[in-house]
Symmetry: C2
Subunit: 337 residues, 2 copies
């Protein structure tokens, strides 16, 4: 991409490495829980779940639980099981998302629904989701259960909301933010917040971590949605233009449409209705999201939420953990460049 | 159907009416919880969920929670919310089942996946499932949460197990019983058992209700599977022969295949492989499940589990509640006649 580089922090190259390093030992324990608890006497379950869980994801959400626990100097081990819960919920939603979207590629690999079919993906998603609740119940905190069951319901609501907004050019930026706040940011927020619950910290600290996760989640999704209009398909391991061809209303389209007139508006109406989805149409769409600065401003919005995530950490003591969490945000918003 | 009538009890006509009447007032309160808690700002959610929830089901599972509470003289109100939880879990699994099976008819009505599409059915199922956990968390009993989260995971496991057994003529009766024990009976068992938990009864009473529900659930599913080979399609509001055409391995087929030789075995291999699924083939299959007494013996197995359900109630005092629960079993196993 050709957009100018605007970084939040002063570091030359924001990286996820400090966070990955910081939680590496904990993550090994989380991975043990994940591998152990995705087992079943029904062989298809670990086979299918393993494809996605071992499929090269960064484990961003459980990593946030672990990093938040580090930030709070938590010395127990409840967060390992709960981080696995977060990853199970996430994996269940990915399995169902790929069925809903009819996706054939995720993280550069064939999706489970393509390999094993939609029925298996739906049911194994249900299993992982149920298993995640069993693990939460084992942890035994009603507060954690409340936070995660609420997040799960909000995620599902957000997914349905997104589904009913497909091909709806009248979707506003406000409603779009509601959708991504639900389908993506709710789990980021919960993943961070539960660390404060197990560490028995104050409501203020709990909600600060919630805000960090929530704003990071929104920034993360905005960047994801921008990347779909980047020319470099390899960036995400998914095909660029998928959102465009599916008529998904994301911020680049919302802004580009709002800022266009005449012929260009007509183009968007035809495209989002699914009547202009050739490669040439997609190239034209990219041109429009750039010329209207819709893409730049989607990235600017992402930086805004990223900055709020960073500032939410202000109440915590400076140190390596906080630095790593700040840099994770900078890394997330820099992904599109 | 032409099978001889063998009834368990002495009553001339077993009926569900005594149970329905006994819990009618409670069920109204459960229905209020259901209607209230299936709401969402996303209109598609109550619309789709309402189609199925208001769609003429007997509310068998929540009714069992209410009846069990009556049996125990429970005087609180926690069972209303928990009965709604049970119905939400059941509805979520129905939505996903219809997607998995590609069903177009349930209880004589078009299925949600036909009206709103598979993506909406998957996501609204996820919502109801998450919402059911929110309701359980509101109830606040870790023991109830453990029972229901475990049941949910077992159901999903059973569904995957069934999926991988489709078109597998080597499926044994034992493994078939495991599958229906998981996909159907686990929720029946949990629905009854949680009444003993809220009524703070002994482990013995809890497990007696678990056994009642579990055996009833198995009997219920056996009858359902027998009905698919009954000639009267209207009985279930679903098309007779669906299981046959989908190559689903149910007990009538397992027994008929085990008892056949030569040509008939060849027929079953072709049919279950999906190469003989015309109406004439289905008529031939019905003839075989009858001539081998596979259908009669499926019903006999159902009566066996029904009798175990009834006997599990032996530790509870005689009275109207117990009579109603006995008669519900007799009604369930008499459905196929």
């Amino acid at each position: 991409m050709s957009a100018t580089i605007h970084r939040i922090g002063a570091r030359p190259e924001p990286s996820l490495e400090p966070m990955i390093k910081m939680v590496a030992a904990d993550m090994n324990l989380v991975n043990s829980v994940i591998l152990d608890r995705m087992q079943s006497d029904v062989p298809l379950i670990p086979e299918l779940a393993g494809h996605l869980i071992a499929g090269g994801g960064k484990r961003m959400r459980p990593m946030l639980t672990l990093a938040s626990a580090k930030l709070l100097d938590y010395s127990g081990n409840r967060h390992h099981k709960l981080a696995a819960v977060v990853e199970f919920i996430h994996t269940a939603t990915l399995l169902h998302d790929d069925v809903v979207d009819g996706s054939d590629l995720r993280r550069g690999k064939r999706t489970a629904n393509i390999i094993w079919g939609n029925p298996a993906s739906v049911l194994v998603g249900d299993f992982l989701f149920s298993r995640s609740f069993e693990l939460m119940v084992e942890d035994g905190s009603l507060k954690v259960l409340k936070i995660l069951s609420n997040a799960s319901a909000v995620i599902a609501e957000g997914e349905v909301n997104q589904l009913t907004s497909v091909r709806r050019l009248d979707l506003t930026e406000e409603r779009y933010l509601d959708i991504i706040g639900a389908k993506t940011a709710a789990l980021f927020a919960a993943a961070c917040r539960i660390a404060a619950v197990v560490a028995e910290r104050s409501e203020t600290e709990e909600m600060a971590l919630d805000a960090y996760g929530r704003n990071l989640g929104i920034a993360f999704q905005l960047i994801d949605d921008a990347i779909d209009y980047a020319s470099d398909a390899a960036t995400m391991g998914k095909d660029a233009g998928d959102d465009f061809r599916e008529g998904k209303m994301t911020l680049p389209v919302i802004l580009a449409y709002a800022r266009s007139e005449g012929e260009d508006r007509h183009f968007w109406r035809e495209a989002i209705a699914g009547r202009k989805i050739t490669d040439a149409d997609f190239a034209h769409a990219i041109e429009l999201v750039r010329s209207t600065r819709a893409l730049d401003d989607t990235l600017a919005r992402a930086r805004h939420f990223g900055q709020r995530a960073i500032d939410a950490l202000g109440i915590f003591p400076a140190g390596d953990a906080r630095d790593a969490m700040v840099q994770a945000v900078e890394f997330a918003v820099a992904r599109a460049y």
